[in-house]
Chain length 429, copies 3
């Protein structure tokens, strides 16, 4: 439970708010490279932390990110002409380069130097892993990029999906951190009931998670502060004096790493970014990668199934709030616990159904919410500190802190799994 | 005419407002039994007096009414699993019974007693006459059910329609009380003009209303305060020294009884409840019944014609504000006065066209509005009294005051129709 | 650039605001005569300066304009019966004539004189040139009609189009005054690039504008205050010591005269009114006329092409913000500068894309905006003066000041084009 005041602080994304300013000290992924597929292609309207923007790829291949409305008379540059290393407003022909500099102003006398004085608000971008990242903070504080392994891989090893979620970004992130729900929301009815047939299938699995995850639905959570955010251990009692430990991560400000990872050579990894569009919506960007080999067609299909189909020329899921996520009440009775087909659709259903900004002051949190509680406190504390003049968090300055991996292990009763061991488990080879 | 301040008081339905709290001292009908047709069927999203709710029928057949969002992390229980005498949230599997008690909390350790401490906001319900009623007020003040005769009848004698009206409930109610408009809004053009052919047909009718109602379009209204609300007499001068008296009723807080009733054995009765959904919309629930015999197919058809068709899987009328109630301007010239087909569509057209909360401070009321004026004053007075610490009105505590009937009679000049006679006329045998 | 405060003053249209009251001192065109094609036809819902209204043509052919909601209980008179020189409310049959006088009140006793005391808010109208004009200001200050030549012509010489623009009226007007944008927004790519083929075609044109307009894209603007508003000269350097001068006009409060006009016998004229619907939308009413002859089918087709098609039974353009004005990115590359087909669609695209009230405090104006700056100042000054008790502007009282025409001429270096000459050029013969 959070006070209404803290809830407002936690969820505000605009420039000048404490959290909005904290978010602006990080690079944020927002655009698929494919959305601006080639030089001089049409510009794209977008929105980040409540700022209306337009993105375009210039003749040299650089991605520009400008305030949507022209500095002159505020016509939308979305309608602009993307030509010769600049975006030209169709109203009076003013043209800006990727740095926002006005480079042509044909409606003013040729002798005028007004052009040199006019700058369109612009933000630097970086392109990596098939994704474009932007930085909306002060130029003199430009942060390091998070050093994710998938940013160094060939694009064949990486698959990215992007969906529109109509909730505040923290709400999405909380869903990502909350590993307690997978035994319910994402379960089958048989799994929830642990029928004999289901148990037999589970025990035959080679994957530890498949084998043990559902055996204990009320694990002990151990969230630990780290430089990058939180390492979240979940300890499950799987019987016969054995504990199954599983470690996922929250990385500042809005990343989850939740699946496999380099702990299991040859198995795909998965993580999510919840990028704030405005206070009431975010991009859910899911990255699937394999550090060792290209993704197969099957891998990509699985990643797309996870995200679920989107409407044509849109990132809005086909299953969405307007159609109650196509919940199938028959399926819900004996098929899947939720009755909603698709993992991400299930997540969206519960997260969006809370309202776009959940009333955290009306919650009744349990022990399973330990990581969420700790993350909220950390975010609020860091936003307040920054507003009070402190430095940005280390994660904003040192991308190397992001070099972590998913971890899991079995521990017998009496064995120790101390902090050093936990950290080792989550450190890539 | 009402001050803007009184208008705001009259129309506010939220908990903590004077009128919202008065409304919460009565049982309110809101759900057709058919909407939750059988045990463990899918839950229904609903809304009463600005509270988001979910209704479900449990394994034992009881109808539960819970706050829509789960006490835990506020996911919508609309997506919940309706199973084994409780509604289970699909997020973490918390389960609540019809009393709101958390009866299962599988995401917490088995040893935890947290489950016993968590209650979901819940409201008691009663099912009668094919309708589910809820009580949203303080438990220690649970009111009596209004003792309508149709609540005691076999369901074969009763037919209920439910439509969404996009106005504040008082606005609907005022339309129901306002018996002056039927000579215009619901008239034919011939009836309005009283053409010879129309007059001849009227005089041949056995029904008093059909014979006399339109002969005098500016009746004298006599609204009288009663324990249940108002008895509204309308005296029409029908010529040759004869008065036609007709009595309808407003019953606290939002019922109209306006048609036939047990005064005429064998003839159907009709009444309306205007149940507040929020400040800007209400359910128009029309009950047609016959105290003596099952309704015929024709009776039911007439009741459905009165309500007009609704969109599929919806209570929104096919004729609605978006399509100007399909007004037919040709029909309006020489057919019906309004040009809008259907009684209830005609009512909705005028009521919704005022805006969802009519600016009562800009009205110019006439003598025909006497009952409306009196009802507003009564509602405001009682809401203020309750807020000041007085008891709820008697009608909230004693359901027997609702035992009234529609009445009508002819009175010759010189004859008396004193208060006692008027009351007798409206008392069921 | 304008302060946020001045921007709010400039764009507020409601009664009681400084600008709303200034606007209410002029006749405003708002309805095509065709919308109420014949006596006793169905009434039309409309809205002017944020007032909800209903217009109807009575039995005598007069156009009435009443407040939308009935004085009695505020049902919409849009559903009213238009009969025998009055509009009758369908709720209780109250009937009003074009002057707003209640002329029948059948729900009240025949002996009542209440009818005589009730007046529906009504506004006088004038019908001219196929257009209906309304006056919403104080009766004792009824203004003169602007003496446009087209108001005196046979209807065969005039063609009027009306479109819904979802911006504040000033924003539309600024687009109309801004003659600098036509070399960009309305240009072809070849014209913008001045390719040899394009130059050759331009030089072959007999029309001065076609020949010279695009040769100098950064003309010198000379806006001059006049009794009617502004005379806006644009001087283009077309080489060899020659200047091409072109004069357009802003006429109080929201008219542009921008094309041809009586300076060129036989050639059509064109002007626009931007009539405020509310703060966020306006009617764009374009009048095409020929002072000397009936318009041909070709003329009318050109006028309709200029406006672009509207949706059926609507004034909303087919190309609109919801579909990004059907911008064609292929066309934009080498065809037309904007990629949007249609002159008025191009204007709407840029004007609406600024948001319904542009943030004028975030602009960077250039020398090409001189006329816009001067118009804003003039409007604000006059609104403030009126609020401070000054008389309405002369243009409100003397329609003859509107007798101006479009003007253009060539001036050789060294020749004078003094104020008297400029005025002569813009005075009809």
């Amino acid at each position: 439970m959070l006070s209404a005041e803290d809830n407002a602080l936690l969820t505000a994304t605009s420039r000048g708010t404490a959290m909005g300013d904290l978010l602006r000290r990080f690079w944020v992924p927002f655009l698929l490279s494919d959305e601006v597929p080639k030089p001089d292609c049409p510009p794209i309207r977008t929105r980040l932390m409540n700022e209306a923007l337009v993105a375009f790829r210039d003749t040299s291949g650089r991605v520009g990110l400008l305030a949507e409305r022209c500095a002159h008379r505020r016509a939308s540059l979305f309608f602009g002409r993307n030509e010769e290393n600049g975006l030209r407003c169709i109203y009076h022909g003013w043209k800006y380069d990727v740095d926002g500099q006005c480079v042509d102003m044909p409606s003013e006398p040729a002798t005028s130097n007004y052009r040199d004085k006019v700058r369109q608000t612009s933000y630097p971008t970086v392109e990596a892993g098939g994704v474009v990242w932007a930085y909306l903070g002060p130029a003199e504080q430009t942060p390091a990029m998070p050093d994710f392994s998938w940013l160094h891989l060939p694009l064949s090893h990486v698959h990215v999906t992007k969906r529109l979620e109509r909730t505040n970004w923290v709400q999405g992130l909380e869903g990502g951190i909350d590993s307690a729900h997978s035994n319910f929301l994402h379960a089958t009815v048989d799994g929830f009931r642990r029928t004999p047939a289901w148990l037999e299938r589970a025990q035959a699995a080679t994957d530890l998670r498949a084998r043990y995850h559902a055996l204990d639905r009320s694990p002990v959570f151990l969230p630990e502060d780290t430089d990058y955010g939180l390492r979240v251990g979940a300890r499950r009692d799987i019987g016969e004096g054995t504990h199954y430990w599983r470690f996922t991560h929250w990385m500042m400000p809005f990343y989850n790493l939740f699946k496999q990872g380099s702990a299991k050579p040859g198995v795909n990894s998965q993580g999510i970014a919840w990028t704030p569009i405005d206070d009431h919506s975010c991009w859910t960007i899911v990255v699937t990668w394999n550090d060792e080999r290209p993704l197969s067609g099957e891998d990509i299909e699985a990643a797309e199934d996870f995200a679920g189909p989107a409407l044509p020329d849109s990132f809005l899921p086909v299953r969405n709030m307007e159609n109650d996520y196509m919940i199938d009440r028959e399926l819900q009775v004996n098929g899947t616990f939720s009755g909603i087909p698709g993992t991400q659709a299930q997540d969206m259903a519960v997260q969006e159904s809370m309202g776009s900004i959940v009333a955290r002051f009306e919650e009744h949190l349990g022990t399973s919410d330990a990581a969420i509680i700790r993350m909220r406190r950390r975010l609020i504390r860091q936003a307040r500190a920054l507003a009070d003049g402190a430095d940005a968090p280390l994660a904003s300055r040192d991308g190397s802190v992001y070099r972590v991996r998913f971890g899991e292990t079995l521990v017998q009763e009496g064995e120790e799994l101390d902090a050093a061991a936990r950290e080792r488990l989550c450190t890539p080879a």
